[in-house]
Amino acid sequence: MSTISTALRNFKEPTKEQLTQIFFSLPTVPSDLSENASEQPEKMEINAVLSLGDGEEDSYAGKLHIMPPYLAFTSLDRKSVRFTIPLSTIRRVERLNARAGIYALSLLTWHGMKIIVQLTSLRPTADLFCSMLRDSLKVELQKGHMKLVKSFVKTCYSEELVSSSSNVADNEREDGSLISEEKENPVPRESTYHGGLGLKFKFPGDPKKLRESSKIKLWTTYLRTHGRNLTLMRYPQCTRLVQVGLPNRLRGEMWETLSGSIYLRFSNPGYYERLLKEHDGKTSISTEDIEKDLHRSLPEYAGYQSEDGIGALRRVLQAYSFKNPELGYCQAMNILAAAILIYMSEEQAFWLLEVLCDRLLPGYYAPSMHGTLLDQRVFESLVQRCLPIIHDHFQAVDVQLSVASLPWFLSLFINSMPMVFAFRIVDCFFCMGPKVLFQVGLAILKINGEALLQIQDDGGFLNLMRDYFANLGESAHPQSADPRARAITRFQELLLVSFREFSVITDETILSERKRFRSEIIHSIESFSKRAAVRNLKTLGRFTKEQAGLIYDALYKAMCIVPPPPTVAPPPTLLTTRDSGEEKPETRIGLRTFQYFLSEVATWARDEKIVMNGFQQRVDREVAEHEFIDRLFFFWDIACRGALSFQDLVSGLDGVMFNDLMENIEWFFNLHDKNKDGYLTKDEVLTLSESFLFIFRYEVGDAYLGAVSRFMTNAFEYGDALLPQPESKPGEERELLSPPPVASNQPYLNLATFRMVVLADEILESFFETDLSASFKLQPLPEMELPISSGGLLGDIWSTIATDSNKKMFNMFTDEIGKTIGKHQVVHKPSIGRYTKLEEPKARESLLTPAMRKSPSRTSLVSVSESTVAPTVSAASTSTLNVTIPTAESNKALPVVPDSAALSALPMIQAANAALMERTPFAIDDAKDDADDDDFFADDDDNDDDQVMDEVDAFLEAHDSGLTDADKKVANDLLHAEPVK
């Protein structure tokens, strides 16, 4: 009872463009949400120097991107300054009149902030950029997005702060509650901004200790001059303010602004409400799981002791599970959702959850939790690199890092440390990205290094961590004589160590480490689920676990090629009376996937062509399609579900692979006895013969054709002979037209007769004795390659060269040449391959007594059977038989032309077989791997350099604007430049 998922194999490394989008926190998936997914707007980037209208900030050189409907900028160091603003917030664009050769634009936002960008690329590029900007702005205007801005920003608390800063900031009580305002102003201004449960149930922590009011003041000042919500410009001051902790009332909005979820909320108005409405009353496994956890999510917070909080939490989690049913709900999401709902409205929380699951914590909460496992592996490797002594000690005493660190990552420290501290880490996380988790994790280990070297087991590790987190509020240096040093809390120390000493951990580090370990993780998940699937089989039949594992491999490969329909969980019933076994969804494959599966395990279920063209010898394998395979599919579908589970396949194979002669004959008989009445009808006898012909279609020589032909002759002869009232004189012409004594769909041939007919033929006997069972082969499959992860430029080039289609083209090309030089040869690989020579075994003497025989000689017997068969065949409207039987006959008479080719090719076939087993790697593959490795190490070196540089300037707070003094002067001049007339 298990689900098998191939989803992990679909992972693709993000493209450069996607990485840019991720960097700017833009919604990565346009998909169903965006209005026009089909038309991809053009994108462009240009070198530019950014200055802010009031001249308060330095100018910064960087790149300006237009990615409609967004405009984005980042300074050259990619961390000092950046912004992402929707084009619809821009109200006016002017070309500035400045010195010759300077191309500058002034952008005015809806609230009057002036952004000046000097385009420093070549003139034509700048012109192109301008026209693109103009066009994109026009599109936004036409769509009416400009009008939406005003109403949207009303939902943002920052606007409230900025517009009435004197009121709010001064009158606000320390605890950040609204009460003061309401009391002092009898008619409170209409507050439409979104906020979280904290507004009603108070925010965690002591506002005085948190210095809420001074933080609010600082932010108000910053937001007034640097834009806010949709138009926030992130200068170094912004990051610093985030690092000291966001003020509670602004926190929710800043989270969505910094994480970019605000763009989702902005561009999908009403989506959340609609989603809930559409799915009202619907239940699923996810909603059931959610219910279980609602009361277990931050239960000590007052808001979650009331229906207000529980209801909001339920709606947000359910909405997300509806939006992303594949992910659904994972424990730990309840903690995140509960935490962010303290600071945000439901709608805000919904979109933030989306960004969390999709971009910031990719794959963390997926059913396989591969993202979690991957990042744990990455974290371990970073510990090994940055804190080797601790890593070695952990190895020595066999302590697993993840026992402690897994929940840190999975719930963003929220249930590991006191909430006030965890939220400050979350602040930094949204501002600076996922690397923060790694930095903080490393800092925790580093600070506790001494004590960690004393621990002996997992339990000791956890206890140490628990004690450390419980005392984060204590002084880090209680013994120090310096009161300022004494005042530094352990938490402050933690953040300092995180961002100072581990600033070497960058986004690129994380990305490249993830890339390094991804396939390892995927393989371990896959082998884990394989083990689980094999273990969970109800019965292995006569297979060993290893053999079942091979069946699983074949199934898995087939599923990768033809993914089955998504596993559907059975709808929950009203009562829990359902059979326990049915409760869990189980992966089942359809016919198409089954064909691929069978082609892996059964030699006759694939068409293998050995192609020789003078240049190469290869085996082209195709999946065979035949009614026989379909028949097998339904034969094995015992539960009549129209789909097969892993168990069905194992049981099905068990039913044929261990059979002896008699069992095989019976098995084959039953397979064709559709109504299971113990008799084959005449139609079924024909179908059965067709099955024979299908299985034998590539056998060398005509022995098998002859055998099948004799089989049919005998079957009908004996069948007729054993009928209660046998027909008389079937040899005469006239009899042909008379209807057969038994209708073609009536019981005709029973197992005993069938057995007798089969045993009358040496070839068929040996087929049933050994060949049939042996045609099912469980072989270890070559390790499947993971999707190519492009490693830099070289990797890109190789991956484009070494695609499947290119291989195909290469093959076609060599085939053509081979044909022109007359060396092209295609040989079908036989499925059974018993006869490698054209020897023809003799048919055995008939078992019928002479008295029972209708015809005395064998030759006439054949002709009789042919005449008997012919009408039935045409009635069944099968063309194969009509064609093949005469062929078989004629083959007997004539030396066979095509077969001689096959014969001469035999040694080559064997060689080809050997090659197939080894699966000769393409030279290209090898080269690519090497290139990848090289690339990685090269990256590494670069990183090291960067890391050193980063370390130097990270906390010096000297943010290099990347401009010379002269450049700065130009930029400053622009602040006062007049628009071009």
Partner: protein, 257 residues
């Protein structure tokens, strides 16, 4: 706890025990009942695994249980090996009112028997037995509405339990005791029906596991050899900490009969 970080200096014997089972069968509640003899309505959810310790006196020995309480949701399954590796004991919990939870328990047992420490002592615990006891027989009246709410919040699946107040309690039972008992015997497990809410059977699990842990046999053997003198006993206790570690590495068939 002074000895928290360094278990090896402790005189008591450390036993690593892992709790496994389907979501919401009451694993955490079983642990909480055992460790602090409480029943907490709103417990923090288990992410990955929770870690608790509890000392347990058995005759003249002190066992220190290191309990790993794992998350029950299906997708956390792949993390479980991290927690059950090197475990000397496991408690696999199911919910007597939910038949599917026994199936899941069986699959856990299978997994443990194949993947975990070969000496692992496994106990099967059918929890929430208070929900199926008739109110007269039960000492702790399960039908009182207040405690029922608690059960809801902490362990039971909402939507399943509400039926309990009106109907006859026994109809809630989906797993007959005999069936589970038979399975446990066949698979060589200790078996208990428990209630984390009333405390029924909880301590018994841990006591019986303590008795069945292989070092008991070693201790018994050493005791037999050295007679019943006080000195012998002391040395036996000394030895057992050492023996435990050896035992974890060496396959011993002493207990898995």
């Amino acid at each position: 706890m002074a000895d928290a970080a360094s278990g090896s200096t402790d005189k008591s014997v450390q036993v690593k025990l892992v709790l496994l089972g389907e979501a919401a069968v009451g694993k955490s509640s079983v642990v909480l009942r055992f460790v602090s003899n409480e029943f907490q309505p709103n417990k923090e959810p288990t992410i990955g695994a929770a870690f608790l310790t509890q000392k347990c006196r058995l005759e003249d020995r002190v066992l220190r249980y290191e309990i790993w309480d794992t998350a029950g949701q299906e997708r956390f399954h792949s993390l479980a090996p991290m927690y059950y590796r090197n475990a000397q004991a496991a408690v696999v919990v199911y919910d007597v009112t939910k038949a599917s939870s026994l199936e899941k328990a069986k699959s856990w047992v299978k997994e443990l028997q194949r993947q975990a420490n070969p000496n692992i002592v496994i106990a099967l615990a059918g929890n929430k037995v208070d929900l199926v006891q008739s109110s007269g027989a039960s000492s702790a009246g399960p039908a009182s509405p207040e405690s029922e709410d608690e059960a809801d919040d902490a362990t039971a699946t909402p939507g399943e339990t509400p039926g309990s107040s009106g109907t006859e309690p026994d109809s809630l039972r989906q797993v007959p005791k005999e069936e589970a008992q038979a399975y446990a015997t066949e698979a060589g497990l200790l078996f208990f029906e428990t209630s984390a809410k009333t405390g029924e059977g909880i301590v018994d699990i841990f006591t019986e596991i303590a008795k069945k842990i292989p070092l008991e046999h070693i201790l018994a053997a050493s005791r037999g050899a050295s007679g019943r003198s006080g000195v012998g006993r002391a040395s036996g206790t000394q030895q057992e900490a050492v023996n435990l570690q050896e035992d974890a590495n060496k396959p011993k068939d002493a207990c898995n009969c």
